[in-house]
Amino acid sequence: MPKIKIPRKSTNIDMTAMCDVAFLLLSFFILATQFKPAEALEVQTPTSVQTTVAEMKNVVMITIDKSGRVFYSLSDDLGAKDNNFKAEVIEAVNEAKNLNLTAQEKAMFSFPGYYIGVPFSQLKSALQKSPEQLAGMNLPGIPVTDTLNNELQVWMRATVDVMQGKTMNLLVKGDNESKYPTFKAVMDAFKKNELFKFKMVTNPEGVPPGSELAKKARAESH
């Protein structure tokens, strides 16, 4: 104990102001958080060291779930009222495969969040359901593994024809557990339609320390 006692003053600080600021910041972040849209298809994508962010506009998305089922969907901005690419795609497919779809069924394809997960034989009945109903059903997926009848090729053909000239973001979102033959069949569908560039959706992963990539990143930042 020190011999000389320093006269102490009261150290009571009124914490109200700090508390107010803390809750203001909290409310800001709660409101600024964007939740990921509830996906009808549960896909666990693999991780990758890539840093380019996946685009959200003009997206043609091919989803492969863990049992190898393939789903095709277009982003909602492609179904806009004045420039409805979705309507053109379904019309092209309708003509190519003689499906005799009604106007209402074609309109269902343009509905935001709609995705195709059935072979052409079941397409007419699938188009009578809304996306919420589709989520409950157990869809068989688009058949791709049969090389003679790769239905995804037809869908991609229609997409390429409709989107001529417009930059299209082709994304493949595959599950970790899906097998390589399905992925290969999806790539074949792309190759047959002269689509040689596509992106795969992944989760971000840190660059391993000491690796060549880390050295390159350090050299570039200096």
Partner: protein, 180 residues
């Protein structure tokens, strides 16, 4: 210290025989609430920025049968990686020998060292990695291998079909391993 004592308590015995004061302190210590507030803030700070999925670009070569358009591949500079079942990677350097003696097995952890060794011992313009996946390889294996290409700064790599002789070798190796 003496000041704090008198202000926090409800009352003190001023002397013997004083009645106990019935007033209770209405001061609540708000420190834990502020702690939780900051904890929640940090949680939301981290979750808002990290939820964007990233994308990995892949270029496919055109399928040509004309030999002059196919990439000239110097055999000694090529490393072939084959993806099999259960995250196993098989590899060989250069051409596959008829007796399969240069067919080796490894896992994803060691494949980085193998790629780096081959890269260091080869001329940069001859070095190429050929990736072949059999029917039991998963999508995750494919993405991980392509990731390894980026991590190790491999400039030339190709994703091609697996040959039947390689499939046989893989099956034979799997059979031998399971019998061990």
């Amino acid at each position: 210290m003496a000041e704090m004592d008198t202000s926090s308590g409800g009352g003190h015995k001023k002397g013997p025989g004083v009645k106990k004061q019935k007033k209770l302190s209405t001061r609540v210590d708000l420190t834990p609430m502020v702690d939780l507030g900051f904890l929640l803030i940090t949680f939301f700070i981290f979750t808002t920025t990290m939820s964007q999925p990233t994308s990995m670009q892949l270029f496919l070569p055109k399928d040509t049968d004309k030999p002059e358009e196919q990439n000239k591949l110097k055999e000694s500079g090529a490393l072939t990686l084959m993806l099999g079942k259960n995250n196993v990677v098989y590899y060989y350097e250069g051409q596959l020998l008829p007796d399969g003696s240069n067919f080796k097995t490894t896992g994803f952890k060691d494949v980085r060292n193998i790629i780096l060794d081959k890269k260091r011992s080869t001329d940069p313009k001859d070095f190429m990695v050929v990736i072949k996946a059999d029917n039991e390889a998963t999508y995750k294996n494919t993405v991980d291998i392509l990731d390894e290409m980026t991590i190790n700064d491999v400039k030339r790599y190709a994703l091609v079909d697996i040959a039947p002789v390689e499939v046989q070798l893989i099956r034979a190796t799997e059979g031998a391993d399971s019998r061990k």
